[in-house]
């Protein structure tokens, strides 16, 4: 569980950063007539996104997420800045509760 969370987080941030570089550096340069950055970073993001998909998918199955949050998680890797927002949302709403419940269980008190 912890490993899956870590993998997801790493990939969310790496993919997010590369996508921001692509969109806010690569695309303007391409429009200005220097397509090299957009080409290379574009392919790099493509490859990273595949890895991100796998990591996010594995985590979503560990957390037993319903379809909608899963789809949001998977598609976040294609929209600039969204990976960061979605990562925080998933952490608050799904990861933390799951980890907390692993640590302590609601046992009735015995005296």
């Amino acid at each position: 569980m912890n490993a899956a969370v870590l993998r997801y987080r790493v990939m969310a941030y790496v993919t997010g950063v590369v996508l921001i570089v692509l969109c806010f550096v690569g695309i303007p340069l391409q429009v200005a007539g220097y397509p090299a950055v957009a080409n290379d970073v574009g392919v790099l993001h493509g490859i990273l996104y595949i890895i991100y998909l796998v990591c996010a998918w594995i985590l979503s199955r560990k957390l037993r997420l319903a379809t909608k949050p899963t789809v949001i998680m998977l598609l976040a890797g294609t929209i600039p800045i969204m990976t960061f927002i979605v990562e925080r949302w998933v952490t608050r709403r799904f990861i933390n509760p799951a980890l907390a419940s692993q640590a302590e269980q609601a046992e009735p008190v015995r005296r």
Partner: protein, 156 residues
Amino acid sequence: MENAVPAGPAESAAPAPSGPAWRFLVQPRWLGWHLLMVVSFWGMLWLGDWQLHRALGGNALSWAYTFEWPLFAGFAVVFWAKTIKDEFRIKRGETTGSAESEASRDDLPISVRPVQVNVGTAQDDDGDEELSAYNAYLARLNAEVKRHGRWHGLRS
């Protein structure tokens, strides 16, 4: 989507006695997902084909995307199939209480894990009112958390 299980009291009872197990697949919500699935699958294959033609036309960069798009299309199919399989398993699990759910119990978030909460009874608490009140409180909390989790999209 939440589980496409009809909301309400029927949920905890036996799965819809009104039809076969695959009945949920033809609910409007699921039909929407099927449609999205088909459109995105063919859309992604089409994009792959487009990139292939660009690649053959001399755009070396397009080779990467030529293989990427079919991969995404395949992933979509796997995603769709697994989701449906899960749904069937949940429906079956509700009736049988399978051994598998026992085994994976530690893996589940609290909202979906079956928790043994003994609301205080005379036999094991010696009529300790304070204790049984506290256990009843725990049981109520547990029930609330369960509902809350489902509301936020966790599988029940």
